[in-house]
């Protein structure tokens, strides 16, 4: 079931098109990722979906109901975690959570119970009475996520949740995202970390310069990028001794000799492993490992967008 549908969604700023008519949907219960470089239109899209930016064209639906011109009803079902923590610096963790619950009309008992649960779930009980300004960056991000889900939203928007925080906290936050997903929360995630998208998301869209250049499940995207089938064999002998025979027996297969006795066999068609394993074994070359080589999502992204990932990450993290 589709929870969010964006149809030909556009955003113009004084003649500049930040988002150029994107179409996508998010299924209930899935983690949908928006992957793209700085300035691609990720945050603008989130802002349009959540009501922080006016929509210049197209429409958005929540559970089939058009809310393009009236976000207020839809906002009750949304949790939003922006790319920078936006809680109140002078309030402590507990007060921030309770205040955010109150903004969604939660009664005192319910919001206090929920705040206690979240502080425990996010490992922030000991910091609950500290002012938010005294939190580390990772703790701030965790509390901001907790504030985003205090009212148990149908869908959670996470804008670059792990950008700029250390590895340990980033790992904790990824685990929290998986945990939220396991509990049934639909998640819209924007990120520029390809491995994060690959690990967390069920479906992905690549957005570049305000346009979705590719969309699909991780499997679909990888399949598209895979030009040929490759299997890497780790052998217990010298392949050079049998390579002429190999060519004669398997004329349609190509091969590359790699390091450490690894032979990559490739073919445009899918192939069966058994004849190959038998071939090597019968010629005294034991097969220690046979591994199907798949392109990484990184390769897919680079192939589709032409953008170098390292450059994209450095740009986002302000490293030039």
């Amino acid at each position: 079931m589709k929870i969010i549908e964006a149809e030909n969604l556009k955003k113009d700023y004084n003649g500049f098109s930040a988002v150029k008519g994107v179409n996508f949907h998010i299924n209930r219960g899935e983690i949908f990722g928006f992957l793209g470089p700085n300035g691609a239109g990720k945050t603008t899209t989130i802002n349009m979906l959540t009501g922080l930016a006016r929509i210049s064209g197209g429409r958005v639906k929540l559970l089939g109901e058009d809310y393009t011109r009236n976000h207020k009803k839809a906002q009750a079902m949304m949790g939003i975690v922006p790319d920078e923590s936006n809680l109140y610096e002078e309030l402590n963790g507990w007060e921030n959570l309770c205040f955010c619950g109150a903004l969604y009309g939660m009664e005192r008992d319910r919001r206090e119970k929920r705040a206690r649960e979240l502080l425990e779930q996010f490992g922030l009980e000991d910091a609950s009475s500290k002012p938010f300004k005294a939190y580390s960056k990772g703790m701030k991000r965790k509390l901001t996520i907790a504030a985003g889900i205090i009212h148990e939203p149908e869908i959670l928007f996470l804008d670059e949740p792990t950008t700029g925080i250390d590895v340990a906290f980033a790992r904790q936050i990824r685990n929290l995202i998986v945990d939220l997903h396991d509990r049934g929360t639909t998640i819209f995630l924007t990120t520029h970390y390809i491995e994060e998208a690959e690990r967390l998301c069920e479906r992905l869209a690549f957005i570049v310069e305000g346009e979705i250049v590719r969309e699909g499940t991780v499997e679909e995207l990888m399949r598209e990028a895979q030009g040929e089938n490759i299997v890497n064999f780790t052998l217990g002998g010298d392949f050079n001794e049998v390579k002429k025979e190999f060519k004669a027996v398997f004329p349609d297969y190509g091969y590359r000799i790699g390091r450490d006795s690894v032979i990559s066999v490739h073919s445009p068609e899918a192939f069966s492993l058994l004849p190959l394993v038998q071939f090597f074994e019968e010629r005294g070359l034991p097969v220690y490992e046979a591994k199907i080589a798949r392109p990484s999502l990184e390769e897919v992204f680079v192939k589709v967008t032409g953008i170098e990932l390292k450059k994209m990450q450095n740009q986002k993290e302000g490293r030039g």
Binding site: L52, K72, F99, M106
Partner: protein
């Protein structure tokens, strides 16, 4: 969705975090005392406290409300915590009313501090207290919405202060608070009548000393019109600039 819970919590948070902080309470006490003393010291003739009261009440409200609201909203905008309010499922009108209610209450409390001081110095008999209370409410609302108008017109905290003074200081001298309107140069009088505080101060003059010159119902109507206009324009600006 129980919107009153959101409204009440925004109001209570603002009261706790901004308005009930010691510096603001002391501001509310020092400001009227300073103004009263200034007139006592500078006036060549004996000054009657009761004559000063409408002016000091008006200024206490004006400065209290505009300073606080303009600065707090600009500050929350800068720290992005205001975004959290914009993302809450409550209407923009209700949100802005919740944000301004704290300032209105603060302005009303500020208004009665000079009254308490005056009670020790002069007789307050014969004052129309109902009219004082009503005018204080109206002045507090109009001044707060002026603060809101300032807050949504600027983007930096220092700009909010400067822009506030652009409106406040002319009002001190042009609203008949300390210089009667009829004594102002003729070319300045139309400007006086274009300022909301002129009407609020005049109601207070009628209520305290029965020497106002503008019909009271007209003054209330004008204050109401200013409030509606400032609020509507502020909402328009929020929609145009902050949800762009």
């Amino acid at each position: 969705m129980k919107t009153w819970i959101a409204f009440a919590n925004i109001l209570m948070k603002d009261m706790r975090n901004y308005y009930l902080k010691p510096p603001n309470i002391s501001w509310g006490l020092i400001f009227p005392v300073a103004w009263t003393l200034m007139f006592f010291l500078r006036s060549p003739v004996a000054v009657e406290v009761r004559d000063l009261l409408p002016g000091v009440i008006s200024l206490s409200i004006l400065f209290g409300t505009t300073s606080m609201l303009a600065v707090t909203i600009t500050f929350e905008r800068k720290s992005r915590s205001f975004e959290r309010l914009l993302l809450a499922p409550i209407s923009l009108n209700l949100l802005m009313l919740a944000k301004t209610s704290g300032a209105i209450i603060f302005g009303m409390v500020n208004a009665f501090i000079p009254v308490v001081f005056a009670a020790f110095l002069t007789s307050l008999q014969g004052i129309n207290w109902l009219m004082v209370l009503t005018s204080v409410i109206f002045i507090a609302i109009t001044s707060t919405f002026l603060g809101l108008f300032i807050a949504v017109s600027v983007s930096q905290v220092f700009e909010a202060q400067t822009f506030s003074n652009f409106f406040r200081f002319p009002m001190i001298f042009l609203c008949g608070l300390f210089i009667p309107l009829q004594d102002l140069p003729v070319f300045l009088q139309p400007l006086s009548y274009a300022l909301p505080l002129t009407y609020g101060a005049d109601i207070l003059k009628t209520a305290v000393n029965d020497n106002g010159i503008i019909p009271v119902p007209l003054s209330f109507l004008v204050l109401l019109a200013f409030s509606a206009l400032l609020f509507a324009y502020s909402i328009y600006n929020v929609n145009r600039k902050w949800i762009s």
